[in-house]
Amino acid sequence: MSIFTRNFTLRVLTALVLSSSTFAGEFTEERTALGKTNGISYDLSPVTNPTDTPASDVKAGFTAALKAILFGKDRSVLEAQGSVTNLLEGETDFYWGGFRVWSTKPQFKDGSFVVSAGLPTVSMRAPIAGVPVGPVTLRVDAGVNAEAEIDLKLTPLLSIPIQFTSVRGELGPKVSASGFVEGYAKWLIIRAGVGAELELVRANAKIMGQVGFGGMPPVISYDGFINLVAGKIYAFADYFNVLVWKWTRAFEPIITDWKGKCIDLVPGGTPPGGVACP
């Protein structure tokens, strides 16, 4: 339990809750392959408290959300939130690979709530419909492997009047996710496969600033970089050549070949993308 106890009741009027959607930092890149959408959506934002949020549920903090779309399948990879309640208690909320994994209370250290969470690397698999490769259609497994480490620091800044109390802090997730596509089959004299080298996201981006319970608008900035959707999806079909007694390539279509998009974030804003990522 933090040094801030429930006796230290700092309630915020519902009417003063801030809607900070205008400050949302969502970075999305989508590409189409085989008629289906592939891509990533990565969101680094202040916690939003909708206008109808009960006073007891008002929070100030930051969220990170990562969702992957692979061949039209939309999956939540990460939902992470670090916040301070209006009772001045630290809270975290982690969903990883679609599962709730933690409800760890942040440590209160030197006047700040801190969390350093390493999430175990996860694999999310989903079968997709047949992919045409030359003359045959393959059943294919696709999915996402992802790793994440999240650093959170939130420092409550008490103020009078009480609704002007705010929280200064930062949320710095290091997130990487790669897509995989696996399909292979052999039907006596023909074999075919589909594979991918797909880097969906590589991000070392941080959101930081000062967010309040309602008395003042958030002041936020970003730092770091986000690299989105690079790689290729390929396929092959071979037939068995009895004359040379080995498989011979019949088709080798490159389904897609994407260059990555890098977004370089600097403190104070989001500059145009297109620069080289580290």
């Binding site: 599962f99 209370k105 694999s123 079968p127 045409p132 003359p135 497994d141 696996e182 004299i189 037939y239």
Partner: protein, 543 residues
């Protein structure tokens, strides 16, 4: 030696040779003059034999060749493929096969088959090529058990040299093996549903007819025609032939594959003990049971060299994220494919690393992601052997989010943890319990886990404990708790309603959709957002 097993073995082995058709012995009854294919004889008296697998068939056929005797067969195999109704590829192989015993040891009986091709024809997209040169293959040795079943198969080179087969050689052998299994419901294409009929039977001759109705692991097959015929006299198998045609429907047209084979007895020879005492070595052991139904992609899983793997794995933190995730995926697939030896290397690599280190996160993650039971057991032991809370939380997160089924003994461990007072470990154990329910395949164990979660759910009186219980239920994806979730969805607290709608995300849509639809019109934004999030998981498994 009883006659039935030996007969069965003889039948089976004969069927191998029936891969091939000998044109010199007359036109195959499977092929018309125009080269089209038709089924083997389907006339004459038919007597249904009710069951195929593992059934001893009283036949008139004799034993395998006895010591000092070699049977010679001619064979031919034809394969053709059409795409969009046009010829794409035609293959014809023909040659000789010889079969002889090579000795016995305990209940092992060894037979050697030698294959020599002398006819090769290929027509690829209109271009015809023919090679009639002789091409020999290494001997194939069969180890037949006392019941006449194939125990294993090995290869040895013509010079007696031991060597590993290439992939295509291995495929070729597997193709042979599939023909081996006339009386079993499996072939190189997988487990089959078949029927067997006795077409004719006298004191001296017997004709059996087998029809494969369906390959269970090939739902993509359409228009399957798979007919096989076996003819024997009192001396040996005289002829085995068959056709197997099927189509693969594609977006741009149908790919139709037609195959036939025929093996006809030619002659027998007396032999000196030419190969009887040949040291056959351990050339090739079948890598997996072809009836196992494993996906081809699993068969393709990379296997790691155990000598270099520790170095490779210990350097993972230095890799670029994408390369590390690729290594993670390859190791997961190798573990799933049975390379359990990697587990000890991975566990050892965790020593001295904190739960936030890349080594720990990747190592614990891959143990939790794999379906390998050795991995699952290692993860549990890791948990039991640490007192560091962060490490415990990380392991619980791997159990929760990983694709692998947790080790059975996790139930006892989680039970002990959730019995402790509320806290991070309690909640994380509850979430892991929910996830374990979702992944458990054993119905009894699943029921035990559900009972444990129920006891926690019933004890959830505070808002915070109900939120944790709903999260665990959400992780479970179990309809067992649906009534409770529905009840909580009517709570006046929007946080509870939001968590309840999140908890239906893995449920079948007929259960989940009404709650999601209602939640989308909820006055509270957090409930509406939870509905959108839950809906994301409701997409069909395949498109």
């Amino acid at each position: 030696m009883s006659i039935a097993p030996a007969l069965k073995a003889s039948i089976i082995l004969s069927f191998i040779a029936a891969l091939w058709i000998i044109p010199e012995l007359g036109r195959s009854s499977f092929m018309e003059m125009d080269g089209s294919y038709r089924s083997p004889a389907s006339v004459g008296p038919q007597k249904e034999v009710p069951k195929l697998e593992n059934e001893a068939h009283a036949t008139v056929s004799p034993l395998w060749p006895v010591k000092g005797e070699r049977w010679i067969f001619r064979f031919e195999r034809k394969v053709s493929a059409e795409f969009q109704g046009k010829s794409w590829l035609k293959l014809t192989l023909g040659g000789r096969a010889s079969l002889e015993p090579t000795g016995e040891f305990a209940d092992h009986r060894f037979f050697l088959i030698a294959l020599e091709l002398d006819r090769l024809q290929m027509v690829n997209e209109g271009v015809s090529t023919e090679k009639n040169e002789k091409r020999s293959f290494p001997f194939v040795r069969f180890d037949i058990d006392a019941s006449g079943k194939l125990r294993e198969m090995r290869w040895v080179s013509l010079t007696g040299e031991v060597k590993a087969p290439s992939e295509e050689d291995s495929d070729f052998v597997k193709d042979l093996v599939s023909q081996f299994l006339f009386f079993e419901n499996r072939s190189r294409l997988g487990t089959a549903k078949s029927t067997l009929k006795v077409l004719a039977k006298t004191e001296t001759n017997e004709t059996l007819h087998k029809t494969v109705l369906k390959y269970e692991n090939h739902p993509e097959f359409s228009n399957l025609e798979s007919e096989h015929e076996w003819v024997s006299d009192t001396h040996r198998i005289q002829r085995i032939e068959g056709t197997e045609n099927y189509s693969l429907a594609g977006a741009t047209g149908s790919f139709d594959q037609k195959t036939s084979y025929r093996w006809v007895f030619n002659s027998s020879e007396k032999t000196e003990s030419v190969v009887t005492d040949l040291n056959l070595g351990t050339v090739l052991k079948l890598e997996e049971d072809i009836s196992s139904g494993k996906r081809d992609s699993e068969r393709m899983a990379k296997r790691f060299d155990l000598k270099s793997f520790p170095t490779q794995w210990s350097a993972l933190a230095a890799l670029a994220p994408h390369d590390r995730l690729r290594l993670f995926g390859e190791v997961k697939n190798a573990l799933d494919g049975g390379q359990s030896e990697l587990v000890s290397v991975i566990v050892k690599s965790l020593d001295g690393n904190t739960s936030t280190s890349l080594e720990w996160r990747t190592g614990v993650g891959v143990l939790g992601a794999s379906s390998n039971p050795v991995s699952a057991e290692a993860l549990l032991n890791l948990y039991k052997n640490t007192n560091v809370e962060d490490a415990k939380l990380s392991i619980l997160a791997a159990v929760t989010s990983g694709e692998g089924t947790p080790a059975p003994d996790w139930k006892r461990t989680l039970e002990a943890e959730v019995a402790n007072e509320a806290g991070a470990i309690h909640d994380a154990s509850l979430f892991a319990l929910g996830s374990a329910i979702r992944k458990e395949n054993d119905s009894e164990r699943k029921k035990d886990l559900q009972t444990l979660l129920w006891s926690e759910v019933r004890n959830s009186n505070s808002d915070s404990s109900q939120l944790a219980a709903l999260d665990a239920i959400g992780n479970s994806g179990s309809a067992e708790f649906y009534t409770y979730v529905k009840e909580r969805f009517s709570s006046s607290n929007p946080s509870i309603r939001a968590r309840a709608v999140s908890a239906v995300r893995f449920l079948a849509s007929d259960l989940a959709q009404p709650i999601i639809d209602t939640a989308r019109a909820d006055p509270a934004v957090i409930v509406r957002k939870a509905a959108e999030w839950s809906k994301r998981f409701q997409e069909p498994a395949t498109q």
